[in-house]
Amino acid sequence: MTEQEIFDKVVAILKPYVKNKDALAQVSHETNILDELKVNSARLVDVVLAFEDEFNIEIADEDADAVDTVGDAVRLIKEKLG
């Protein structure tokens, strides 16, 4: 799976939770998930579960805690996929 494909899937998973639709329209690897996309922090556990289901991986809590930006998520998933 290419990095672009992972990026697109990550953005699609985040989409329902995004409160700032303008930020979503200009989303990049540097976009911060909580501060810019305004995702409710309580819903991050659902986003992580959706990553696990979509990519068939397991994400430990400490790895999930280190994700701030869309690019962080893409890098973590790419790493798990080997």
Binding site: R43, L44, V45, D46
Partner: protein, 425 residues
């Protein structure tokens, strides 16, 4: 001066209509919303018919965003759709998410009988039992907590007054309306969204099937299955849905210049204490009559003022004693009882939502001047026969209809009674 409470908006999600217009026209036509439910047969239920509102997922997709939908089970969908309808019907816009205004003067009491049990059974139990607690995600608690539906509605509509959920079995919807009325009357709120919701779930219905209180003889003729007051009644038909009344301080409503459907003239709540023939599952007739009389007294009217009774009347063995209690409490001889109807004859028994759905039917009848038929009781029960002339089998147009009484009697021997009066400015 005592504050008066009026109904200025209503919403309904019922098996025979998911808007006020559709619901009213189904009531007028005597149209049953009871259908064959295949999964009940697959699961070996004795009763394989039930009431399930149609097209709800489409309505939900139209009204709620993706994130909201991910956290809304069927109980949330029914309750939230009905609340949204009532809010708009009362003349309010749905607030924007980004708008920080809170309606401090408006609250909600929206109850359920058994509520989010489907989510508990299908998600919580199997996930936890298999050691995968972290796979529950963040949306489980809000879907199974007792106050889930009122909490959801408060966020959709930015409510800032009392927001909670009551539970009083089959009396839940009536009780919510009574409690909201009292809150406004006491000056603690200007507006309250009140009612009940109950999911369509075989887990909710299973216990009643096991008790053998559901209708089993009409699985091939679903529309004939719910037969309150009939000699061939065979138990109640399980149902589901939601309804919400937007109650408002009269002065506030007049200041806003909005349409007023009816006044909540009085209300009463009590319990029979499981004595004098009452039990966990049967009402104490003394408490039923006390509750009816207390509602009349709160309304400041005599029993002669009642034009129509929308009873609890579920189609179980309790119907004849309920009719006897109405006659005793209203001091009417056989042949002199006002019109008596059961909305359940068309929608089944929606448990925690029943009182609210039936209250919407009652207020619609007062506002529009008609009495809907009580269907499926052409063969009136022999003990009810002396009152048979009070049961309408087809719609009666009655512009002079003024005062209606609605009651709900629930497991736990709890009672709730409401008196509504047509609004005449």
């Amino acid at each position: 001066m005592k504050r008066r409470v009026v109904v200025t908006g209503m919403g309904v999600i019922s098996p025979n209509g998911t808007s006020l217009e559709n619901f009213e026209s189904a009531l007028r036509r005597g149209e049953s919303g009871i259908r064959y439910i295949p999964v009940l047969e697959e699961l070996n239920f004795g009763c394989t018919v039930g009431g399930v509102p149609q097209g709800v997922d489409e309505l939900a997709a139209f009204n709620f965003d993706e994130e909201e939908l991910l956290a809304m089970n069927m109980n949330h969908r029914y309750g939230s759709l009905a609340a949204l309808q009532a809010w708009k019907d009362a003349g309010f816009e749905r607030p924007e998410r980004a708008d920080d205004r809170v309606y401090w003067e408006a609250g909600a009491i929206i109850g359920s009988g058994i509520g989010g049990i489907h989510t508990i059974a299908e998600k919580l139990v199997p996930t936890v039992k298999s050691g995968r607690v972290r796979r529950l995600g963040s949306t489980l608690v809000e879907q199974i907590m007792g106050s889930g539906v009122s909490a959801r509605v408060s966020g959709l509509l930015a409510l800032g007054n009392k927001v909670s959920s009551n539970s009083a079995a089959c009396s839940t919807g009536n009780e919510a309306i009574a409690d909201g009325y009292l809150r406004i009357k006491c000056g603690l709120a200007e507006r309250m969204l009140c009612g009940g919701s109950e999911s369509s779930s075989y887990y909710i219905w299973a216990g009643f099937d096991a008790m053998k209180v559901l209708a089993r003889k009409y699985n091939d003729t679903p529309e004939r299955a719910s037969r309150p007051m009939s000699a061939s009644a065979a138990g109640f038909v399980p149902s589901s849905g939601a309804a919400i009344l937007h109650l408002e301080n009269l002065e506030n409503a007049q200041k806003r210049g909005v349409r007023i459907y009816a006044e909540v003239l009085g209300a009463a709540l009590n319990c029979g204490g499981h004595r004098n023939g009452g039990s966990m599952t049967a009402p104490n007739p003394v408490s039923v009559q006390r509750c009816i009389k207390a509602a009349l007294s709160d309304a400041g009217i005599g029993p002669e003022a009642i034009d129509v009774i929308n009873g609890h009347l579920t189609a179980t063995f309790a119907d004849p004693s309920e009719i006897a209690s109405w006659a005793a409490a209203l001091e009417r001889m056989p042949g002199k009882l006002p019109f008596v109807i059961s909305t359940k004859s068309m929608v089944g028994h929606a448990l925690g939502a029943a009182g609210a759905i039936e209250s919407v039917a009652t207020v619609l009848m007062l506002h529009r001047g008609f009495v809907h038929p009580s269907i499926n009781c052409e063969d009136v029960h022999p003990e009810i026969e002396p009152y048979a002339n009070s049961i309408p089998h087809e719609t009666k147009d009655l512009p002079e209809l003024r005062t209606a009484i609605k009651a709900g009697f629930g497991f736990g021997d709890v009672n709730a009674c409401l008196v509504f009066r047509k609004w005449e400015s």
